[in-house]
């Protein structure tokens, strides 16, 4: 255990202190200035925004995760085919994985916003003008950016999990008379499912906690929880600090509510805790 201790202690101290402080701040125990006074005012004043924020966070995170899982699985399936194509796609996935979300969001904004590249392409077609994908009523650009980058992550995780023995499984299935569609549905999908699930969970939790994409590409009202928390945290209004902390606590609780039951249900992640063999 002694070897694990420093890393584990660092995580516990930093995450523990951070969460304890953010909870204490939300109930007025660590005000921006003045004397600490326990109260639920921060929670009360933020309540309507918190409810809307949970909705907006899920409206972003759920579609982004579903799309990332779907596209990620297809990318993995393509790579499992092997050959030069597989290496090119794999390299592209790795490159996308290395792109900071902020850069991705910047680029998607240049692509999908009002005067963006896509709007230029569509301009000759005329019509009612370009739909408000960035900052509009639906978080389209936000979802697409998250799905784009996380699909590369899902693809690589699935590839790593399924590639060993994939060719053999396919040959055996073919030998038993399975047609290509059956091979995919009966063999590949079940083999890949745990990895897709685990990667989707990581994506979902990340999307719930991510700030910069929705901040850059999303609309002003309602805001997802991280954007709400960050905006209130920047304010120097005395009442906003506890409200910001309340939004942060709500965001963390939402992530935990999603992660804990899912972790318990995922056999692949559980197997890690019995020794970590790949």
């Amino acid at each position: 255990m002694s070897g694990a201790a420093p890393g584990i202690v660092a995580i516990t101290v930093v995450a523990g202190t951070g969460m304890a402080a953010v909870v204490a701040t939300s109930v007025g125990l660590m005000p921006l200035y003045g004397k600490p006074a326990p109260s639920l005012d921060g929670w009360r004043s933020a309540a309507p925004d918190l409810v809307a924020g949970i909705g907006e966070s899920l409206l972003i995170a759920l579609p982004a995760t579903v799309l990332a899982a779907l596209v990620g699985f297809l990318l993995a399936a393509l790579m499992l085919g092997g050959g030069r194509a597989a290496s090119v796609v794999r390299l592209a996935c790795l490159a996308v994985l290395a792109v900071p979300h902020l850069v991705g969001a910047t680029s998607v904004s240049l692509l999908l916003s009002d005067g963006g590249v896509a709007a230029r392409l569509a301009a000759p077609a005329g019509g009612d003008g370009w739909p408000a994908l960035v900052g509009g009523p639906w978080p389209v650009a936000t979802v697409l950016e998250l799905a784009w980058k996380e699909s590369a992550f899902v693809a690589l995780v699935v590839l790593a999990a399924v590639a060993p023995g994939h060719r053999m499984r396919m040959q055996v299935a073919a030998g038993l008379g399975a047609r290509p569609v059956q091979r995919v549905l009966r063999v590949l999908v079940p083999t890949a499912a745990p990895a897709v699930g685990a990667a989707s969970l990581v994506t979902l939790v990340y999307a719930i906690g991510s700030y910069e994409v929705a901040w850059l590409l999303g609309r002003a009202v309602p805001e997802p929880l991280p954007v709400l928390a960050f905006r209130l945290f920047g304010s120097i209004e005395l009442t906003d600090r506890p409200a910001a902390a309340a939004a942060a606590v709500t965001g963390s609780a939402l992530a935990l509510c999603v992660a804990v039951p899912a972790l318990a249900a995922l056999p692949r992640l559980r197997s890690l805790s019995t020794g970590g063999a790949p």
Binding site: M1, V14, V99, L121, A163, V202, Y206, A245
Partner: protein, 275 residues
Amino acid sequence: MTRVVRTAGLVLALLWLVVPLAPVLVWAGAERWSFPDLLPRDWGVSGWREAASAGLPLALLRSLVLGLAVAAVATPLGVMTGRVLGWRLTGRPRMVVALLLVPLVLPPFAVAMGLDVVLIRVGLHELVSVVLLLSVVAIPYTAYTSATAFARTSPELEAQARALGATPRQARLRVVLPAVRGSILVAALLAFLVGWSDYVVTLLVGGGQLVTAPVLLGAAASGSGNDATVAAMALATVAPPVVLVTVAALRVRGSGRTAPADRLPEPVPDHERMR
């Protein structure tokens, strides 16, 4: 699968992966590009000049320092944890794994918000605070990456070295470490990327005073720069990590030719991901 379907799939996959980044590439070389022209009317480097005068070179240097610092802290801590996990040296693997998941599950902005309040009162320098927090974010990646590598390496290695007269320190540094060197480099790369790419923690805990490349880009992209400048900043921010990862991937591939054809030489660790 027929050849046509495969080719179509490949084209679609590459479009999906590459198109979202294309505007940055084009805009970074544009001098004038007014709506609704499909391509810039004039090409030039004015975006780069403006980005440079806004402090891009220094910001890139700060990002480099931050990335290296996070790698220097998170890699040894992660490797130590990974060794314990990979060689099953702990009676409580569940607890270690659960704690390693904490930084992945808790939103970094929430932890940073709480810590900012504490650290500023304790009086820790911003750079130290940011490195500390980002190292904690990176430890799960470094730990899992090295745990996978240790699990593939026999614990006997260390015992044999000891039997041959090596001190525990020598056995670890001279014998075990070289055996898992590749994975440690991957772990360090992941930790570096966490530090290089971070936006929200640097902004929150750095209090706006630690202007890394993403912080500079965020300020410009949210409204105050022109598109060519923003694109130049974005390209400068994205190029180093992409080049690093691509080079690392090609090298690992090159060294892994002896592996069975359908097995990837270097499985991507389960939690490899960057922000």
